[in-house]
């Protein structure tokens, strides 16, 4: 069994009050034992052993072994070392990355560009509401929307919407490529045409 509070046990044992029995008590016990011939004979036959000094030394050593305490100082040193290692590795990785990436070494030039706000405003408005409404309507009228002509219209509409979302994402908030903006408008125009056609079937 593992003794958890070993130091307390040792301290407790050391503080125990000592008591010595008087010699007469030991003599009395001895006399009583010697009076029984069978016991006296058996006792005389018992082998005697002397434990080597090393055993006692080992026991004493175990008893006086200092209790292991968690050394906070040691942990903080280890943590600092680990942190240093991580930072060093990250720095090495960064250096390696920049040596692999030819762009990392290039100088950045900064200029200004004036952009027509009307161009940017084209990217702001969102009329996906009509598209969602017509799809909802389609879901509610499945018997019509499963017709080949109507389902084709719906598929085309979904394809256009997917393209529109991709374009919007590519343009972002500050996309100024007139070609892409015009394409977005063309898609919206076509979408409107399809929504009108689809609505005719659904209403």
């Amino acid at each position: 069994m593992k003794e958890v509070n070993k130091d307390k046990l040792i301290e407790g044992l050391q503080n125990l009050s000592s008591y010595k029995a008087p010699d007469s008590v030991w003599d009395g016990i001895s006399n009583k034992l010697n009076q029984d011939p069978v016991l006296a004979e058996a006792l005389s036959k018992l082998p005697t052993y002397t434990a080597p000094d090393s055993v006692w030394d080992a026991i004493e050593g175990e008893l006086h072994k200092p209790v292991k305490r968690i050394n906070l100082n040691f942990i903080s040193r280890m943590a600092a070392a680990l942190l240093f290692l991580i930072v060093a590795l990250a720095a090495i990785q960064n250096v390696l990355k920049s040596s692999n990436d030819p762009l990392a070494k290039l100088d950045v030039q900064i200029q200004e560009e004036k952009v027509d706000e009307q161009l940017l405003a084209q990217l702001q408005h969102d009329d996906n509401l009509e598209f969602e409404q017509v799809l909802k309507l389609c879901d509610n009228m499945e018997f019509i929307c499963t017709r080949p002509r109507v389902s084709k219209l719906k598929a085309d509409l979904l394809e256009l919407n997917n393209a529109k979302q991709q374009l919007k994402q590519a343009l972002g908030e500050y996309g100024t490529e007139v070609y892409l903006i015009n394409q977005l408008k063309a898609i919206e125009f076509e979408q409107t045409r399809l929504i009108k056609q689809l609505t005719q079937f659904l209403t």
Partner: protein, 306 residues
């Protein structure tokens, strides 16, 4: 009276001031200033026969030109635009670029990816200006940009989405696939394949053999019977226009499902089928000339003398 005059002057001055201020606001309104952060890079290497140049761009404006020098030169500008200089600088790093050589193929690639996986806030763009010998085959893949190719003579392959395509004076094997990006070409000569979805095709001065597939687009071809060898167009929900100074020089096989066929009056087409669902018209020229075959579903075919 003097008081009145003073009041009038103050009133007039007030109006003048108001006009000036509103004028200033008007000037200010209508323009946003973006900070443009950019990096430039030049790659060049000797051209060896059999070499092929591959460019894969995202949000890239790619210009391909030819020259007499026996080397390939690529100038690349990486651009990031945003009202905040800090954001423009930071998002510029989201443009990734690589340059590899595998065997006799040279690969340039740029794509957009931020370290933290988020979407860049700035508007990003890469501009490639490529100069190479005209015999060098070129393969380009591009998205959300534009591709201009000029004077290549051996092979040009383009796979493009949401990008403007301008082809000028190309020869050899030409293969163009485009989705949401019109194709405009002048002087296209050779074995040509085009596949355009939701994209218009306009070609002038063409010769050789053409195979075109079109969906949701308008195809306009300005042909010359002395040059054209064969032309096949298949498509859906597209209109096809052929403009030729001598339309009677070709053999035609035209089919329009749920569409119409319009031909010059002096050309006596033989209608094999002609009802509301399908129209099939053929014309055989007196001399064996180039053939034009067009098959369109939900679209019109127009042959016209310009």
């Amino acid at each position: 009276m003097k008081n009145l005059i003073e009041k009038f002057i103050v009133y007039q001055f007030g109006i003048f001031l108001a006009i000036m201020i509103s004028g200033l606001f008007n000037l200010a309104y209508g323009q946003t200033t973006l900070k443009v952060a950019s990096k430039s890079l030049t790659e060049q290497f000797a051209y060896l026969p059999g070499m092929e140049v591959n460019v894969e761009g995202q949000k890239a404006e790619i210009v391909i030109e030819t020259w007499d020098e026996n080397r390939v030169e690529i100038l690349i500008d990486f651009i990031s635009k945003h009202p905040s200089e800090m954001v423009a600088r930071k998002d510029l790093d989201a443009i990734r670029y690589s340059f590899k050589t595998i065997g006799n193929k040279v690969y340039f690639r740029n794509f957009i990816k931020k370290d933290d996986g988020s979407e860049p806030q700035a508007q990003l763009k890469a501009i490639y200006t490529i100069r190479l010998p005209n015999a060098c085959p070129v393969y380009v893949k591009n998205q959300f940009g534009s591709t201009h190719a000029t004077a290549l003579t051996k092979a040009f392959t383009l796979n493009s989405e949401f990008s403007e395509i301008v082809l000028d004076n190309l020869k050899g094997d030409i293969d163009i696939r485009s989705k949401y990006g019109d194709i405009v070409g002048n002087g296209i000569h050779g074995q040509v394949q085009m596949n355009a979805r939701r994209a218009d095709i306009t070609l002038t001065d063409i010769s050789g053999d053409f195979n075109i597939y079109t969906a949701f687009g308008i195809v306009k071809l300005f042909t010359d019977h002395r040059l054209l060898n064969s032309l096949n167009i298949d498509g859906e929900q597209s209109d096809v226009y052929i403009f030729d100074p001598l339309p009677s020089a070709y053999g035609y096989e035209l089919t329009a499902h749920y569409g119409s066929i319009t031909t010059p009056r002096d050309l006596k087409f033989n209608y094999l089928e002609n009802n509301q669902t399908i129209k099939k018209a053929v014309f055989l020229p007196t001399k064996e000339m180039a053939s034009i075959s067009i098959n369109i579903t939900f679209g019109d075919i127009v042959i016209r003398n310009p």
